[in-house]
């Protein structure tokens, strides 16, 4: 008599996640995607305000060595009502620091379901999928989805040092340029150069 070959039970693949709230709404993110969790207070001293970035959800930047981290307001990103964030998640392998209300809990998910295809707009960039925890459906965010390449380009551009009219004129003079001297540049021309 031949006994059936015992089959190895496949271990359930699990993933550690952090459940967090933004403007009261519950989200999940993979713990592996979060490099650092800080309180907003500890970040305040290190953050610089960005003027005229053209992106309302990003108002501050934190310099980390050679890299700039953009501080993304989670509520504005998701179109939720404004809130007072208490924590910042520094997201690994991104240039995003995400402002959130707080952490609900850390848990494990055993199944990540793809976002149903009926969802066919920006949310496809926002979420890796959805999961059910304790009979509640929670979207699992995509860390790289908070800032698109276009948005990063816009932000990076806003950080480029803008040359003053004096510097431009000095460069033109040095290169034998034909531009007028700084004191002859009227306001309109100067702003166009910038």
């Amino acid at each position: 008599m031949r006994l059936p070959i015992p089959t190895k039970a496949h271990p359930v693949r699990t993933e550690q996640i952090i459940l967090f709230r933004v403007s009261g709404q519950l989200f999940a993110v993979s713990s592996a995607s979060v490099q650092e969790v800080r309180s907003v207070d500890t970040l305040a001293g290190a953050a610089k305000e960005i003027a005229q970035a053209g992106l309302r959800k990003v108002r501050h930047i934190v310099q980390r060595g050679e890299h700039a981290l953009y501080v993304v307001n989670g509520a504005m990103h998701f179109g939720l009502p404004p809130f007072a964030p208490a924590l910042v998640f520094v997201l690994r392998r991104t240039r995003t620091a995400l402002l959130v209300d707080g952490i609900e809990k850390m848990t494990t998910m055993t199944r990540l379901q793809a976002l149903p295809q009926a969802f066919c707009n920006d949310e496809r960039d926002w979420y890796r999928g959805v999961t059910a925890i304790d009979q509640t459906v929670i979207p699992v965010v995509k860390p790289e989805g908070f800032l698109s390449p276009d948005e990063l380009f816009l932000l990076d551009s806003s950080l480029q040092p803008k040359e003053s009219p004096t510097e431009i004129a000095a460069q033109e003079t040095a290169s034998g340029g034909l531009l007028p001297q700084p004191d002859t540049i009227d306001g309109e021309s100067a702003s166009l150069r910038q």
Partner: protein, 158 residues
């Protein structure tokens, strides 16, 4: 040339005072309303999702598009299969009354019909639209222009 007539099964669903039909083969089940989970998204036709048999099923209220107003009360969710390029997925359609399984002959839609109409059938003295869920519910590719645009295009071309 007379239009082709197919005899098949349909599920009649009710949205307020009007009835519509969906091919019975596209229906998974009829369930009582359960908790809708909402999270931020930008697909305005989708209300949220429900949990059903371990699946996460989007809820799409089609009443606004079909009868011009949202449903004030919903009695069931008709869970239908929506076809995508990569396969089928369930979608829950809120309905206001009992659904009925009938067998009828469908007259296929003509070019003049709106994209969400796949045909017409006659039942109990009513002429009922057979719905094309692929055109009625959102999906990843805008295969068809929105109904008003199509209607306008047809007017312009006629």
């Amino acid at each position: 040339m007379s239009p082709q007539i197919d005899s098949e099964s349909f599920v009649l669903l009710r949205l307020a005072e009007r009835r519509f039909a969906v091919a019975a083969g596209d229906i998974a089940e009829l369930v009582a309303p359960s908790r809708i989970f909402r999270f931020p998204h930008r697909t305005k036709e989708i209300e949220g999702v429900i949990l059903r048999r371990g699946r996460i099923v989007p809820v799409c209220d089609v009443a606004a598009r079909l009868i011009g107003k949202n449903l004030l009360s919903r009695r069931f969710y008709l869970i239908a299969q929506r076809r995508y390029a990569t396969g089928t997925e369930w979608i829950a359609l809120p309905v206001t009354g009992d659904c009925e399984l009938i067998s009828a002959e469908m007259i296929p839609a003509s070019e003049g019909d709106l994209p969400h109409v796949s045909g017409w059938l006659s039942h109990d003295g009513d002429v009922i639209e057979v719905l094309n869920l692929n055109a009625l519910t959102p999906g990843p590719v805008a295969e068809l222009a929105p109904a008003p645009v199509r209607a306008l295009q047809q007017e312009v071309h006629s």
